[in-house]
Amino acid sequence: METWLDKIENLLASLFANIKLVEKGLLGLEGSYVELLTVLALGMLAVIPIFVPRNNRQIWRHVNQLFGLAIFVFVVFTCLGVFGMIRNFYRGLHEIGRENIIALYYCSVPVTILVTSMLFGPAFCGWICPTGALQEFVASLTRKWTKVHKKMGYSFSPPILIFAIFAALVFLLWMYRLSVTRLFFIEDASIYWSQVLIILLFVLAFRMREWDLKLRRLRILSFLIIAFGAVMSMRITSPVHFGFAKVYDPASFLATVMVALAALAIPMVWCRYLCPWRCVIAWAGKNSVRYIDFDESKCISCSKCTQVCDLDAVVNGKIDIHECHMCFKCVDTCPENCFSVRDDWSRSCKKS
């Protein structure tokens, strides 16, 4: 009786060898209000998409993203990695009524993001999120080439395969180095996401066209993993975000590098297939007040919007709200002005 349970436990332990368990949540900097800076900053950044002028909107957006990167490097650095968010959120909710300051410390960023998503749509992704920004900036280096790949309908591509092999090599070398210094084995689970990412790249090299939509469901899985880790008080962090928080944390940093590399081959690959926050944001923004309205009668089916969208969220004007990042690229490129950004306060939340 006891042996098979032991065996299973050992097996699990060996599978998740690089997941570190923490007994307590990270302690907040007591009495500090530095977390308010995050709220403030996020709020300001979320307000900007509302006010920016239509022309030059994309430039404003990139500026905003740069701010996002800067804020997350600095603030998150001081806040011990706010983006272990799901776990921290879970902890923070428990502290309400006991340690209010700490509760605030843990809840501020998730609440801000959820609230802005519910009101203004998933603009966090397109305008603020440092990981999204990182991927987008990196992807612009190879834009010329990925555009062609996309136009061909994601056929099998040797270049992606080469990229995948290249990324895998980087990954393995890095891991080798880390294992020599023995740091890797005590670090957190970022490695897991890097591994998945690498495997994903190989899959995508062969099967991108058929499997794209199915693979996007992986996001739900990663959300479940993180939520489970939060409830079990395991330390499973969303690595990329964490990578910004602790640049000296080699595992997280490796994950960040992997994402950047992968984004060279497939723009926004992390957002498409792995980001656990994406599910939450998409869910919150499902019936947001602000949304992109599409006037079908004006559309000439030129598919320019489809080409410009990094996430393949729009096909000839029809936007998939679960994928859209509200970057307004399609709005700005459409030659017929089919899209308009609308506010509808009476948009009710029926089951959709």
């Binding site: 308010l36 909710l93 309400i96 006991r98 300051i101 605030l104 809840c107 079990m232 019936n287």
Partner: protein, 459 residues
């Protein structure tokens, strides 16, 4: 609040506010009450200049813009006083603007009721966080943001309030409370979607309270345990044995009961005889008798030195006290009424005409029973079996007296409670609950696999 309720001229209110701000900056600055040249003050001044320009150009809603300007001005003047530093003050300002913006939009676009609810919610939040709690100003801000996001929709608002209530008032057990409340809200909302009347909704809500009375202890017990405790529990040989014993004995007694009771139930339904009412009420006896009394009664009859027990022991070498047989005996005793009753209900739902048809078509009485009646009433029978199984597995009183050992799960819980106490027993109970709930779902699911017979449609 902005004094610009009737915008006679578009430029008037913003310019007035600008003038007020400049004047107060100068006056208060000279009197030394606050520093107009601090970064924060300057920033807010510039922000107001920008908004003022936009408003004069007519680029935005005048009333809203002026109110925002007013709020910014107020914060510029007293912000330093109400908050420890400019960061906090800035956050408060931001949230205030958000609230104002949302309030305006709700007033403009939605019904009066929405707006009323919004204002009332604000008031209650203020009472809860600022007056009722210590150090919760910052949480108040977060709560306000939540309110801003949800106030436009009654559904969202009710979920929001469920969250607030759960995480402030039910604190250590917030998650069970969240589950219960969300469940309640969802039920009421779908019911009202399906046009249930107000009376029905009230009935539903008050009745559901009782359900939550059942649900809450279960959830709380589960919420207290983490999964590691439960796994550890499963490694305990005692516990595992108890679980197996329970499963095996309950299954045996259910099988015996099924074999004996199902034909009996059929006979009782389909035949009439002297004393039937009396017999039917005797069937209920095990329900009426307290379980411990039932245990003593069984002991009196079946234990080694007693009436029947002695006979069995000497003639066949079987003993009941302290053996699995005893457990099964007790379980059969207490769960018999359940299976008999459900079987009778199931059989009486089979129309007599169906049977008669089968008979006229040449089937014998036995094969009619086997091939017509049994399949038609399969669901009811299975439900009866499951009830009986659950009753048998959960039986404590009768089993304790006749066979305290080998332990079944309920007895194990009792033993552990008396030997080591409440805290140590909780993980075991959580484990048991998890198991029972899982089993129950599996069984309920298996009912759905049974053939479904629409007797009405046939007629």
């Amino acid at each position: 609040m902005s004094g610009s309720d009737r915008p006679v001229k578009q430029w008037l209110p913003p310019v007035c506010i600008m003038a007020m701000q400049t004047a107060s900056y100068i006056i208060f600055g000279i009197s030394g009450w606050f520093m107009p040249l601090e970064l924060f003050s300057v920033l807010l001044f510039l922000a107001n200049v920008v908004i003022c320009r936009i408003l004069i150009k007519g680029g935005a809603d005048n009333v809203l813009g002026s109110s925002i300007m007013f709020i910014i001005m107020t914060h510029a003047l007293i912000g330093q006083r109400i908050a420890p530093d400019s960061l906090t003050s800035g956050s408060i300002l931001m949230v205030n603007i958000l609230i104002l913006y949302v309030g305006f939009k709700i007033y403009e676009n939605l019904s009066k009721l929405h707006f009323m609810l919004f204002v009332v919610s604000y008031g209650i939040l203020f009472a809860v966080f600022i007056i009722g709690m210590e150090n919760a100003e910052a949480l108040f801000l977060l709560a306000l943001m939540g309110l801003a996001a949800t106030a436009r929709d009654f559904r969202l608002l009710s979920y929001y309030w469920a969250l607030v209530v759960a995480f402030t008032f039910c604190q250590p057990y917030a998650w069970p409370a969240v589950i219960c409340l969300f469940f309640l809200i969802k039920i009421l909302q779908t019911a009202s979607d399906n046009r249930a009347s107000a009376t029905l909704l009230v009935f539903l809500a008050s009745g559901l309270l009782l359900v939550f009375f059942v649900l809450l202890p279960v959830l709380i017990l589960l919420a207290d345990e983490n999964s590691r405790n439960i796994v550890n529990m499963l490694k305990d040989a005692d516990v595992l044995n108890a679980l197996f014993t329970t499963a095996i004995t309950a299954t045996c007694s259910t099988l015996i009961l099924t074999v004996l009771c199902v034909p009996l139930a059929y006979a009782l339904v389909r035949s009439d005889f002297f004393g039937k009412t009396f017999l039917l009420s005797i069937i209920d006896l095990p329900i009426i008798i307290p379980q411990s009394a039932a245990g003593i009664m069984l002991l009196r009859v079946f234990s080694k030195q007693q009436v029947l027990g002695e006979f069995f022991f000497h003639a066949l070498g079987i003993r009941f006290d302290g053996t699995l047989l005893g457990v099964i005996l007790a379980q059969i005793f207490v769960s018999m009424p359940f299976i008999l009753k459900s079987a009778m209900t199931a059989f009486s739902a089979v129309p007599l005409s169906v049977e008669q048809n089968a008979r006229t078509l040449g089937a014998s009485a036995l094969s009619t029973f086997r091939r017509v009646v049994l399949p038609v009433s399969a669901r009811g029978l299975l439900t009866g079996c499951i009830l009986a199984w659950a009753r048998a597995a959960g039986e404590f009183g009768a089993v304790l007296f006749i066979a305290p050992y080998p332990q079944t799960a309920p007895v194990a819980v009792y033993n552990r409670f008396t030997s080591v106490g409440l805290v140590e027993t909780a993980p075991l109970v959580a484990t048991l609950i998890l198991f029972s709930v899982l089993l129950f779902f599996v069984m309920q699911f298996s009912i759905n696999l049974m053939p479904k017979v629409h007797t009405r449609e046939r007629n």
